[in-house]
């Protein structure tokens, strides 16, 4: 039987997922001492773990080279794709929000608004639903800079605590979407390895329900 391959989003979600795996009783020694290795194994569970950047997790799952993955809803909303999104893992919570300079009324006036964001698809959909034409500018680094430099009237970005916004004189105008980590599964893998994958999903669901 080939091992079930799970892709994890590197960074904070990875730590939370490893903690979850430990609650499931998985031997995570390799995950703690990974060095530079990118493919790791959980010995007694016949599971292989792959570490990847968020958007790549989706790519690997879609192509079926990984069977399951843990990825933020933010990435799912931005990149889309076809896979099963079976569980809300409950960690990695934050939100997408529209923000801008404090005290300004974003929705007044006839002038077309410019929005800076790392998430152009999420932004476009949000304003499409409002029937609002906006100009979207893609920014790769600190998006908060764009309104401060008067490049943009607002930003659409991930907000966790709001500290960065406050310290730069910005505030949330409106929430766009809630975000948390999701367990996703390749559509064929779920069918080909139904017993193995449903067992893992079941274990994870019961731990998440307790939390």
């Amino acid at each position: 039987m080939k091992p079930i391959r799970i892709a994890l989003t590197k960074g904070r979600l990875e730590k939370d997922t490893v903690a979850l795996f430990e609650k499931l009783g998985f031997d995570c020694t390799q995950l703690h001492n990974k060095g530079r290795k990118l493919i790791l194994t959980i010995p007694d569970a016949n599971i292989e773990v792959v570490l990847a950047k968020a958007a790549d997790v989706i790519t690997y799952i879609e192509h079926g080279v990984c069977d399951m993955g843990v990825v933020g809803k933010d990435t799912i909303l931005e990149y889309g794709g076809s896979f099963f999104e079976v569980t809300d893992l409950g960690f990695g919570k934050c939100k997408f929000a529209l923000a801008g300079k404090q005290g300004e009324d974003f929705y007044t006036g006839y002038a077309e608004k410019t929005i800076a964001t790392k998430y152009p698809n999420v932004t476009r959909r949000f304003f499409e639903e409002k029937g609002m034409d906006v100009r979207i500018v893609k920014i790769e680094g600190s998006v908060e800079l764009a309104p401060l430099l008067n490049l943009a009237d607002g930003i659409v970005d991930i907000v966790e605590t709001g500290t960065t916004l406050r310290e730069n004189g910005l505030e949330v105008y409106e929430d766009v979407a809630q975000v948390s980590a999701r367990l996703i599964v390749n559509t064929v893998s779920l069918k080909m390895y139904q017993n193995e994958i449903e067992k893992i999903i079941g274990q994870i669901e019961s731990v998440c329900a307790k939390a």
Binding site: F83, T87, D88, T187, V188, M192
Partner: protein, 397 residues
Amino acid sequence: MTQNRLITPEGTKDYLFEEAVLRKRIENKLRDAFAFRGYHEVITPALEFLDVFTTAENGMPIEQMYKLTDPKGRLMVLRPDSTTPIARLCATRLKNEKLPLRLYYNQPVYSVNPSLRGRSDEMLQSGIELIGAVSKKSDIEVLVTAAKALQALEIENFRIELGHIGIFNALVGALKISKEASEAVRQLIENKNYPALNDLLDEMENKEAAAVIKMLPRLFGGREVFQKAKKLIQNTDVIGILDYLEQLYGALSQLGLSDKITVDLGIVNRTEYYTGIVFKGYVEGFGEEVLSGGRYDGLLKEFGEDAGAIGFAVNIDAAAKALLKSETPKLPQAAVLVYSDWAYEVKALEYIDKLAELKIMAEYSLCDSLEDALEDAKARKIRRLDVVTDEVKTIEL
């Protein structure tokens, strides 16, 4: 435009040697599987008018089609699917034929995929359509043909999965919600998004129907799914469909494939044109389905004929990928190199024909001297050099 001279468009590729041969072999095997069951080949044009694909039943997203215009400025597309053109064909040129009609095709379909996702925009598909039959017999015929088609390809580990569009439609009908809301429910079932589906259904008034729909995406697997579903579901329409699916399941099991046949009651394709049973084929190690099909009793009506139909398509590229063991195609070598001196060219070429009759692959050497030919054969690891003069001399290498 010169900068594009050396590359193929994204999502397309050149098929070389082993891969090309393998694709042809798959095509031929499928052609046999179809033709010997009384199906007849049709070829529809790669270019069709956009209107063919924008009927209410079809609803294929326009942005996923390759579009161009004809000299009159009318919008045309590269065919995104073969079933719809065949429905058009049956409702027009084949209109007066006696039904049922059994047709098969073997031609590429085209779709615009998001950039840099590594998907194919040109996909070769072979499939059948059984037009003008709505009986259980016709469903069984097409399902068995699908299973036999995958078997004929000698793919070891495959699954055929059965579902029925009517289950979702009947259950969601009981919710009495708007079209938009039912589309939202459909999408969540399709993505097996259990948590979001639960949240959405918790707001519904008909708690009983909502509770069943919550379970729908989880109802997949082997024969035990029918028992599980029947315990949950009281809706008589749905029970009828479940009984029907179980009969089909039983029929397929007679092929000795019961471990390869599964059920997913949560199959709810963006209906495209499906109205009844739907089915998919999966192969181990390939992330997408290699076969998909179903019943579409409303499609021909869009073209003015009222006839039920069912069919499926095999994605040849997917099948080839599953079968192709060596990742990099190699240049195959001839078994024999045939050399001749001046004046014996035609004789040598005729000798190659003789070898061909014996199914020996031979190649005519264009070298100017026997020494060069010998060297060439050695370099390319061809084990036999035949020299043609008035007689043929074989040199084993």
